[in-house]
Symmetry: D2
Subunit: 376 residues, 4 copies
């Protein structure tokens, strides 16, 4: 399935070199304005063309075919289409015969019996993250109107690290400033070191991996649920749908594996208004699959772009045996930079989906101050 | 939902102190023998009672109510029930008023409006992993008959690390030997160091986290699919349903974020029989959401047990304000040891589910040696 | 799948002669009291044992294993189990070799490759409607507290017809009285004629079909949705899960096929308080897949019980060729009488599921008095 | 959801007067040729423009944006878009204020809080059956290559009835000939009588309902399954997604409610080759939710088009109170004629979806000649 969501059904379609890529969002609440300019800004953050990204020009101007009336959702499924213009199919003829290392080519060939579209990676292309940004951008606008903000930054590229976001909530001005940099880091200095890592990889005809940290603030307590309803599992599932993701951790994550309970536990406390909150947020805002009301925080690992300019060893499907492959064409030396808005987008979709979950208690049921404990 | 799977629907039910916990597996293929003794061995690995685990005695003897005829599946849903015998509800009265730090108590209270069952953590209890093991144990038997083996080991507890499994395939004898140790590590020496970490935590009235590495061998190429069909996303989703998991990474995982493409890429090559395979397995057996035919490998981070014997800061729901909480009762100083069979179980369920996916090419469609590349 | 529902997941399990049948309801709102005596009354209406029904004694006393605390839902999945006591497996040995006409035996044999449980029809047995009544009975209680009532009656058995319910709403006393009769008809006289039809069939070692009309009152306007969200389609899907159903029609149903638009259309009008309603209800309370606020009404056709005492022609799987079969054992001459509570139950489950659908407009979005019409 | 299917996900999008309507089919097997000319012929049968249908001109030429490579499926989602050209929005201004009787206008207004698109019925328009025909037409081609044929005819319009199809299989030449008539009936004479009914309704500024009978031949035995897996329930669910459907019955359907078991039961017998089949097909090819191998047959009731030229009573949302409404514009006096290919389309989608279900027995499991019966 190219579909995520239980209540908000997001279906992505298209191949890298088909006529178009696009997305349908079903279950979108009616009466929600879509700000096209804001959507364009999100898409621009994902678009290639910067010095640090692939030179392939993509207009990335979505046409919204339905679901809106005068710019406001009408309750019908919303479908957006982005035409594929600048596609050079001939670049990919060689890869049909020689599967690219660490690309989907070979397993796709087996899976689809040779009938798959190999041009530009077909349905496995990162090109399909453009419609995901359209859908996620709309979700971000709906959430923002309810005080729920999604913001990610590049946490590291290769050896260059940014500081983590403040788990109790990051400064708004810092978050705003990250979008002014070629790399969405929290400081100029970190952005520069990261850009240097990307440049070094490019000069070496190589690529480099990295991590992205994502934070959601303004969430209510108790979103998600036990077992396979968990908001963490639902986000992890969605995030692994983004090409190149190799790992996901919430809060302290893998660091928690080295900690004692007395270090890891976040004490519950009262805020100034007397409301229950936590005094720390090593949990990353999720406990027992449910939000705690503190910022939801997770970090993703992205592998280096598998397309590199160096000659690589592979097999020849045409002639049998092994072969050398030299990938031509334009490729990002790091997908990490452009992954930031994509990860924000899929996070927003998952969070909005969870907000649309059926209520665990009907609205007309009285709420209890204290949980029940039966006698005996 | 307490349900996972698209084709194999696994529904877990029960609370820690209800009459029973259990599971229904719907979509189980007919004609599959269930070896009760083998199932019992898997459950025994999860059961408490060892020196390193909680002293709560659980019989954990599942009664299979339906779905079998003479020990062989009949195509009807299989339901197994495990009675909850040794439950001491009174232990938990205090936690109803004082939510335990890093437990689900507080978000559950908000989510369910005070109507949740707090006894022993209710539906959030790790007790629900017992029926998951029943379901997963049956899946493991079905897979094993098809040459697909699932095996996990404790990769680390606190600072004590085991070596990773060989990503090209681990030695059978080593895997067999891990089950003879109190901690399922790959060597006696690692197991001993880990046990020492657990003991140290216990003596400090504390707990400790760890990691579990899981491997699946014998998988066909091309299982999973693009986008949200990916086998990695489906496994991650399931794994986060296991209490305490804070991170998941496939293959090189977070290490990939520090690597160059030329280091990370796994070259395709030919095996001795001329079949396509890869010369390395930094991908962890999954590329583009699909299996590569090499071992599928992932590692999970588990947080330290949140229940610790030390006094902790929390809030009082009964009196307002903050309060000190001292958790009594029997608790594992580390859930990592008992998580090994649980993670094997949910992995087996997810893999069997993916094997039951509709075919990407109908069986009567001819397969092509070379992918298509259109002219132009 | 033995599962229905999008928000309320109802999973039925068991076979006729397994240790038990049962049901899990996941997604049940917390804080809902379950009245065990009322539940028992619903189950009693389905239970065999009356003069007009099979003599098989079924205790039908459900044990609720989890999901309740002190008789009130706690938000965890609720599982109820009914033990199968009075099963005589030997009665069914012949049918393993000679598939019963118009029973599932033969297609099940092909589907499950001979591994199915044939005893008493296995998973295809009407015995599985008992747990459906448990689940539906709980849903009926939750709905009733919100003023939504589900009530069905026998509309016909063979040639004996009851009058239809008043489509604008049936009299409460009439509905209450139907439950006092051996056949749930709207008058003594109709019940007697129906009972006579059943008796005549029994004496002829035969069986007889019938229809059940079901009405839901108190529904809000706009439940359901377009296309495959329609409340009619969701009910139809569920209703066909009840063994023996061969047809479903809403409102005028098949009669509408003979009508003109000017006869069929229900004019919108104002009620005494000025609220919009309809002046007639030929639609059966559903237009465009959505409820209109008038009573939701549908009628199901049930085929005659396929098990009859007369000798029947079939094939022999053991010996090849054809064979005569004489079905022994206790069978209802008409399933229609006992189908009434079952159809109420599945209807209640579907309606509650639809009530739990994500809202089509978020609660904080202002509602417009007039729909938008763009210029141009 | 505008989505049907478990394995084949069919998502319809668009509104009557949006830029486009369309459909995405996800899960389509790779390697399947799509014959555009054949698809066009199916769409032409649904298209308006004939003397008996609405005069609205719809080009109905789908553009397939993705999912195909050189006219053959590539395993990626297939999306087809049909532009909405000839839309006259002004016709519908009045209906924004005065909800049309028996149309979705009023419940949609309540459901979407006034934010819905009312132009031409918006998402509730029968215009959305055009993309359903695109999807279903592709499914019909895939099925036909496997010997599975879907064919429907108009069974009645008003009082004019066609004969039913032969439940043991209809003559190919008769089926072919039906497509040459303005009304897809099985004889010229029936088609003429039906056309006369439509003409009479049109002259009276009225509309008329009817029934469509649909048959699927070439199905394997055992498709579908117990309870909510039943092929009948899955078809019923889908069919109610088609605007105007008010009832569905399989085989003898409502007639079965008046029959004895000895009349209704279909005896199993042997065909000339010794294979098991049935000597009659009153079941309509489905027993216990599974196909019997005989033709699958069902009949749908369609209500008269709710848009009629006569003045009708309704309410005024603008001014309060009641009002008279006179619907202008072009409307079919009967939707029955154009519903035939739509019902074939949704049936084909449901059948293909069921064919893609996970196998009930794994292919490497031996099949038993006789079902098991345990001792005791």
């Amino acid at each position: 399935m190219s579909t995520i969501g239980r209540n908000l059904h997001v279906s992505v379609f298209g191949q890298s070199h088909a006529a178009a890529v696009g997305v349908t969002i079903d279950g979108l609440p009616a009466g929600e304005a879509v700000d096209a300019a804001e959507l364009a800004r999100l898409l621009a953050r994902r678009a290639p063309g910067g010095k640090l990204a692939t030179q392939r020009r993509e207009a990335d101007e979505p046409e919204i075919l339905c679901g809106l009336l005068d710019g406001v959702t009408c309750g019908a499924p919303l479908t957006a289409v982005i035409r594929n213009g600048d596609a050079k199919s001939r670049d990919y003829r060689e890869s049909a015969e020689k599967p690219r290392p660490s690309h989907a080519d070979w397993p796709a060939h087996v899976r689809y019996g040779g009938w798959q579209d190999v041009r530009g990676g077909g349905v496995f292309s990162a090109r399909l993250t453009a419609p995901l940004c359209v859908a996620g951008g709309i979700a971000m606008q709906i959430l923002a109107r309810r005080g729920i903000l999604v913001a990610a930054h590049v946490r590291s590229i290769g050896a260059a690290e940014d500081r983590p976001m403040n788990p109790m909530g990051e400064d708004d001005a810092v978050l705003a400033a990250r979008l002014t940099r070629p790399v969405a880091a929290l400081s100029d200095e970190a952005a520069e070191r990261m850009a240097a890592e990307v440049e070094a990889a490019r000069k070496a005809a190589d690529s480099v991996g990295g991590t992205v940290e994502c934070m959601v603030t303004g969430l209510p307590v108790g979103l998600g649920g036990p077992l396979f309803d968990g908001i963490d599992g639902r986000i992890a599932y969605t995030v692994f749908g983004v090409p190149g993701v190799k790992g996901v951790e919430f809060g302290a994550g893998f660091e928690a594996a080295r900690m004692r309970g007395s270090e890891m536990n976040d004490p519950w406390c009262r805020d100034e208004a007397g409301a229950v909150t936590a005094a720390a947020n090593r949990a990353g805002g999720v406990v027992g699959g449910m939000t705690t009301g503190l910022p939801l925080i997770f970090t993703c690992a992205l592998k280096p772009t598998p397309s590199i300019g160096q000659p690589q060893r592979t097999v020849s499907l045409a002639e049998g045996g092994e072969a050398e492959l030299r990938i031509r064409g334009r490729h990002d030396p790091s997908i990490v930079i452009r992954a930031v808005p994509v990860l924000e987008a899929v996070t927003a979709l998952t969070v909005l989906d969870a907000l649309l979950d059926a209520p665990a208690v009907l609205p007309d049921t009285p709420r209890r101050d204290l949980p029940r404990v039966p006698e005996g």
